[in-house]
Each structure stands twice: as C-alpha cells, then as structure tokens.
Subunit: 283 residues, 4 copies
C-alpha cells in the first residue's frame, strides 16, 4: 500500500502541495484515510522537473512526516511538474532503491498497489525485460520490474498502450502460476511534459485515484477561498486520495481506465484494457 | 508520545517479547491503542544487560516495525533484563542521540510523555545539572535533560527519591515560566539488577503504565497456554500498554506512584511525591 | 577536521562546483590533501540561497562521495550563493543536527577546526548564549555553540566583529580551564548577499583557506580553458583547499585575517583580532 | 574493493577483534593498506553464530569507523564464529541489502573483489540461479549473484567445489561477452561450524588473503604478549589483510587456492581450479 500525487501546472514551490494542504501526501504518510493501511512510513520519494537536465530525484527511507530534508527541499524547489510517493512496504526492503518514483532517462514512474505472488512471478517478469535493461533494475520492488517491462513494451512511445501490454503479460504469467490477483493498483507516468495515470485491478476494487476539477469549476464553487484564487486553468493534480474534504474539487477516476493530463489543464479519459503482448504469449 | 517496556526475569531471546506477542512494543510502534497517537515511528531503542561490560544499546532512527537489524538482534541476543522504547517525536529531531534508553555508566533511562514548554525551561534545567555532566547531554530531548538532572539529584543512590526531586524542580521552574503542564508521563530506570518505574502527571491523567501479574496467577488463569507454561516466578514486565487482551495478566500502576521490581519477581509499590530540592529552590 | 567551500557569483548548477571540478569538495570528502586527515566521511551539508524563503539546507550523515541524493540536488538546483561542508567528526555524534552549515533566520555558518577541550568549556560557552537562543542549539558540535555565541555577540550586525568577540570569549574561558589551543580553524558566514570568512588559530598554524583569483586574472593565465571562459567578474570561491592544481587560480588567505566577499566579485581583506567581550570578562 | 575477516575459535567478545587490535577491520575501513583503495566506507556488515537460531546479521550503510551501534554490538555479543566485512562500493548502491555477509539458511558469504563487466553478464548469471532462489536476490551486488549461483551449484554440499563451478561459469559467460577479468577476489563461506576461504583472480594478482598462524607458534614468537597468552589452539583468523605488523603471526594464502578451517584450529589447504559446470556450458 502506498499513496502518490502528481502536479502539472504553473510552477509552484513543492511545499504548497506537500505540506500546505489540509490532507496532503505528507499527512497521508501518517494518516491515510482511503488506503489499505493508515501508515505509509517506509520511505518516500520526490521526482521533479525544473532546473538541470531531466528530472531530479530525492529518495529517503525515513517516514515523510519526519524527514527534515524533505521540508527543506519542498520549501526551496519550484516545479511545474512533479510526483511524490509515500511507501508502505509489503515484504521488500526499506531502501532508497525501492523508493518511487523510478526513473529512466526523462521518465518517472510511480505505483500504488502490488503484483500478486511476486516471489513466484519475478523471474518470468524479469526475463520479459529487454536484456540491455535487465541490470538497470537496482532494487527489489514489484514496481521497478513493472516499469522495466513497460519500457520494453514501448512506454516511451505509447505509455497507456505499453502498460496495457505489461498488465496483460503479468496476468498471463500469474495465471500460469495459479495466482488470481495479478495486478492491483494505480500507476503514474511522466516524461516531463505530459502525465499519464492508470487505475486497474485484476480482481476486486482497484485502489482509489482522483483528478482535481478544472480551476474554473473550483473557483465558482469556492469563490472566497484565497488559495484557490491562485489556481490557473493550467493546473491539475492526480492523487491517490483527495487533499481536502471540500466538495466539488475532486473527480474519481473510474476503475479500468486511464487519464492523460497535458499542458493547458487538458484532462483526457480512456478505457484501460490489458492485452497479452504477442512476444510474451509464449515466453 | 512514546511507548516502552522493560523485562526482568529469566534470560530470554529478546524477540520473545518484542515480536512474538499479540500486541508487543514493535506492534505498538505502528498501532498503539492507548497512546496519544497510534504511530510511534520516529526511531526506537533497545538497552540490554548480558555479555560484555554494562548495558548494550541499539538506537535507530528507522521505525521499529521495519528495521531489519532490530529483528536480527532480537532473535540473537538473550538477556535477563532489557528495556525497549519506540518514539513519537514531538518537536525534537529524529536522530540516534534522541533515542531512548539513555545510558550513564551502568544505568538506563526511558520516558514516555513530555516536559511542558521545553524551549522555555531547557536552559534552567540544564543549569541544574552538575557541571561535570553538562556536556554529556548529546541530544535535544527533554528526557535526556531529565535524566541528567536526576543523576545530579542522586539517581544512583535513590532512584525514586531523585526523580521526586527532579520532578519537583521541573514543576518549580515551569511555574516560574507560567507553564501549567510541567511533567507528563512515565519513567523507567535500571542499574542492571533492579527496575524502577514511575507514573506521574502534574496536570490531568498520566500516561498509562502496567505491570505483569505474578507468574503463578497468570498460569492459574490460563492453564492451557503453552507460552505461559514457560513463565517463572522470576519474571516481570513493565509496559506502557498491555501486550495482549487476555484477562488477569496486567495490573495498572496508579497515577502518582512508583514501583520497584527486584530479582525473584518482587514488585513493590510506593507513592510518588515531587519535592522541590533545596539547592534548586533558589536556582 | 573538515573541509568547506562557498560560492558567490552568477547562478550555477551546484554540481558544477561540487562534482565537475578536478578536486572539488566531494572529492575532498574522500581524498583531502591539506586537511588533518584525508577522509571527511562523517556526514556533510549544503546550504543554498535561491527559490523559496531564506536558505535551504540539505544535511546527511552519509559520506558525501556516496550520497545519491546529493548528486541529484547538485544537478537540479541553481544558486548564486551556496556553502558546502564535508565533516570529519572528532568526538561528537554523526547526526544531521551536527552537520554544517548551521542556520539561523537568513544566516548560514560553517567551520573547519575545533574548540579545544570542548567537554570542559561547553557549559561556560552555552551560558554566554542569549537565553532566548539557548534551546536552539540542537546538536552537540562545538561549531553550533560558537555560532550561537556569535549571534549573541552581534553576528547579524557585524559578522567579523562578533566572531572576534566570540573567539575572545572562548580564549578567555579556555584559559580559565588551562586549555592552550582554544580555537583552531576557519569560519564561513553568509546572510544571502555577502560572504565572510575567517582564518585563525590560538596556537600553531591555522587550517588552510583560499580565495579564488578574480576572473580576469584567471582568464589571462588560462586563455584556452573552456570552463574559465564562462567565469564572470562576479564570481568568487572561498575554499578550505584548492579545487585544482592550476597555477594562479588561488590566493591563500593569511592567518589571523578575514575576508569579505560582496556581489560584483569584490574581495576585501582585514585583520582578525580576538577581543574579550566586556560582558563575558567576568562570566 | 572491500576487506573482510572471519574468526573461528573460542567464544570472544566481537570487539576484541573488531576494535581492540592494532589494525583491525574497523581500522581498515578508514586506513586499509593492502586494498585497492584506503577507504572502505560504503557500509559494512557483521554475521555471527551464537544465541538464537542460525546466524545473526547486522548491516549498516554507515562507515564502520563511525557507527555507534557497531561498537555497542561488538562490545556485548560473544561468538565462537563470526565474519565482518567493510565495503567500498564500485557502482552499486550503498544500501543494507548490498552489505555482506549475505545469508541463506545457516550459511554466510562474503567477498572482496568484483565480477568484471557485471552490467553485461548479470542477466546470464541470474538465469543460472535455480528458479526457486531467483527472487531471493534482494540487492544489486555481484556478490549476492555469485552466492546464489554457488547455492545452485551445491554450495551446501561442497563449498569449494561449488565455487569452482561458479567461477567456471562466470569465466565462460564473461568470455562470451569478451570480458577478460571475469573474477577477482577472495570469498569467505561458513555454515556455522566450518569456515572456507578462496583466493583467486582470472587475470593478474588476486586480492590478498591471510590466515593466522597456529596459537602455539604465535606464543613461542611473542611469549610476553598478554593478548596472545589468551589464544587457544582452537583459534584461527582469516583476514584480507593482517591486523598487526608483528612477525610470524600471519601466513599468506596463495593465489588459486582455498583453505578450510575446522574446529580445533585445523587449517587445510587445497588448490582452487575453476571448472565449467556441465549444465551451464550451454546455458
């Protein structure tokens, strides 16, 4: 179980969203309300686009709520696009290389949920990774394996399509091992200019996922809120669970669907349908 | 807010009490039920008597529930007397020198609660410490200051008396600063052969504290429990909150009182009455 | 023993100076050539002015050479004024609150060297701190005490003067305790627009300290070096030891002296003469 | 580059060998004299047999020289058989799962050196691991892969033979990738009652490895040394580099050879000859 958030919009000090909200992601590290567990204290990560080449990463094994460095970075780094993730480890070690977001070139990747029966399927999934990427897997999470399979299956050309093929492969492999709950969760991806998010579970309800409403709608609903006065039509948030209880701010992203957020505040919905990749059908 | 436990009895593998109980101290780091907060994830510590000179210490800033080393140590160290503490920081840094137990020579010291208005009273309390001990305070907790004041006031000769004088001083200093809730909590002390524990609050209910019943009573109540069959008349636990819901295992230690646990399973109760030390009355 | 550096000039990606130099501060964490010890692996810190309010801080107990986060931050944060410090602990704990730079409001402070007989003089020095600042000392280093004494003695109005009074006090206290080597080292201070640096030892040679030559001189000496082509007349570095062996780049700052670096590349020298503060003469 | 040591003999407080020697393994973390680099500050590990089931492990990413917990554990744990390792990372992350010793059931494994061209050969080596063990590889070191290949090739039945087959496989895979320096280093293995150590390099001189002389010889050479008076005929050390400069204490283990240390101080030498395992010849 984990929680994550992503921002695409005007450049903001990261603390505006990490700390200065009623129930932001750092608060969710201690008091998640919609997660499988209230506590997400097994490390965290921040990935942001801004100065320098490609995205920057800050990974820590400390709980987000108590990490002094996170407060410093959030208060002194501005970014128009960033992702933050708080982790609740289920089995794998608490170590920096298991912290999200994961990165490959310009790409960031986060996940909330799990791959069922990981110990049994890990080898088969690792074999599906392009050999040249095999040794880039540095940690022991399911997510990092998923990310590298997705890179192999074309994430950089077609993120949602690649994740459909990746989930299709995982479900096929799980079936071979008699594992029913192959994939559970939500995924977030970015290349620094667009955000993609997926909500899906092989079995049962998928972990929650929300998109913020468009800025105009929020302002009409809460005309006197000074924080919202600063919102621009550019701004969108994707979150595991809402940052506040105010009505009209959040739209739940349906199960088995994906969204694409582009500059200008554009939010596009589409269905998410796993498909077994041809190459993997007889892996 | 914090939680702690102390064992005095037959030598046991530490994991027996840290991990192999229904609701032990490591579980309380994630799911405390009687604490001010359910999460005690800001580091922890273990102090034990056994091989080598004086007590050993293991301090970590990681949450106890996820620390791989703690599991290893608990599974491979035997001790007839140890104390464990899980921390919920309130203001002071998450760092090893802020983890309990604190140690001086043969003595260990733990605390659950707080000194009210610490920022305001810290200087006055530090000045009450014997000058030769002043620089031994390495961290920034209230507890370490309390411990060194108590050492100054005779902890090594008369632990309960020294704590009565220490609490008396703190209340006197707090009053000078207009702080009403001078002292809150429970304290645990050991010299390697005896355990002392105090429960006290200047104002309002004090944090909870429990002693295990004597072994015979426990066995009579639960004759079929194989775990309890191993209990000897020597064994006593002092804990912030019970390790299990089984009836008859725990006795609450009353507010404003102290207990002394000696080898042989002896448990003595006494009143705890703060008194202003003469030397400090005009500090 | 430690090493530090400070940059005041055009905004640069911090990695340009931390990593992309022949013998920069991160290299000095592993291979210092002029320090008392080659290894400065007991944590490090970075303080920078840029986005957000006041300076940002990143403190880590890991050796600088191996800290993945430091590489990330250095590669993604731009700053016109920053200080970095690598630490070799002598006695005090390896913990974030012992990492330099120390901060108070807009001010940063670093130190290379030591206060002689710290355990003996710590109490007297702490008593010289303005009571309202006393509890702001969070760690156990000599440097943090020096910083708070200097704040008490007017650092924010007259940095060099305040340090002269601070060193004067330390020497007076040390003399009372029969300690000959009261103060050893170099100090760096900034308020976000000016840099001050001091080199001084009560006894024997002081730790080394260098200022970079002015940009025009460097360019004349090395007209074909592409890195130096980017240097502007604004740029100045203050370092514990030179970042390269190229001739003409560095000027040693004499013992018992101080420098002030202002915007525009101005570098002013002055003598540094400890003086016992009146208030402390009879402390 | 790394350094390691192993003790098999009478039960001793671990600090006797880690700290209370002229040039022990902790000193080697800061000042190695025979290693490829003087500094081995990228984490360390301790594995010991004693109380509790199987070996205990303590892994830390801090440099061994500054880790307060290591001093505590070493001063309070007694063991008749333990291994310690200080790490100098070459490429892979500084994280607990990359710290030696590695463990499988009752077995401990350490390594000093490297597998050449790891990024290129990692996938092929991982494929040689028994599928049921594949997901047990938690970190990203070459050593952990070597260990799991060796387990696959019969380490638990015939440690030296399994390592000969493992090294044979690695050399075969490396050759396919055009990598000349397939294997470099020394390996240490134990099951809790016997120690095995190997010194071997595919190319060039292998990392150093030494065995302590038998106790009688040491006592005859240094009859007045009180430390050696406590040595018994049971005691043997295997070390990357000698703990002291005293003559007659250490015997270099020749290249391309292995030793077996058994209870009673028995030390057996044999040749070490890599052989390509049949199953892997056409992997």
């Amino acid at each position: 179980m984990c929680r994550w958030m992503a921002w695409l919009g005007q450049p903001v000090l990261i603390e505006e969203l990490l700390f200065n909200t009623q129930h932001g992601i750092v608060d969710q590290s201690l008091h998640s309300r919609m997660g499988a567990e209230p506590t997400n204290g097994d490390g965290f990560g921040l990935g942001w686009y801004g100065s320098g080449e490609g995205p920057g990463l800050y990974h820590s094994v400390a709980p987000a709520w108590g990490d002094a460095n996170l407060r410093e970075l959030a208060g002194h780094i501005e970014s128009p696009l960033f992702m933050a993730h708080v982790r609740a480890a289920i089995g794998s070690a608490v170590q920096p290389t298991n912290c999200h977001p994961f990165r490959h070139e310009n790409w960031l990747f986060v996940h909330n949920g799990y791959i069922g029966g990981l110990h049994a399927v890990r080898r088969d999934l690792m074999l599906a990774i392009e050999p040249g990427l095999f040794a880039d897997v540095q940690g022991s999470t399911d997510t990092e394996v998923v990310f590298h399979v997705a890179l192999t299956f074309g994430l950089r050309e077609d993120p949602i399509g690649a994740l459909e093929r990746t989930v299709g492969l995982i479900e096929a492999v799980a079936e071979q091992h008699g594992i029913p709950d192959a994939v559970q969760g939500t995924f977030g991806v970015s290349d620094g200019s667009t955000l993609w998010a997926v909500r899906y579970a092989t079995q049962g309800p998928a972990r929650t996922l929300f998109a913020s409403s468009d800025a105009d709608a929020i302002k009409r609903l809460h005309p006197d809120n000074p924080r919202f006065a600063r919102l621009s039509a550019e701004d969108r948030l994707i979150v595991s669970e809402p940052f506040s209880d105010l009505p009209g701010l959040w739209h739940e992203i349906p199960q088995s669907s994906a969204v694409t957020v582009r500059h200008g505040g554009v939010l596009e919905h589409q269905a998410f349908t796993p498909r077994v990749p041809v190459s993997a059908a007889h892996a």
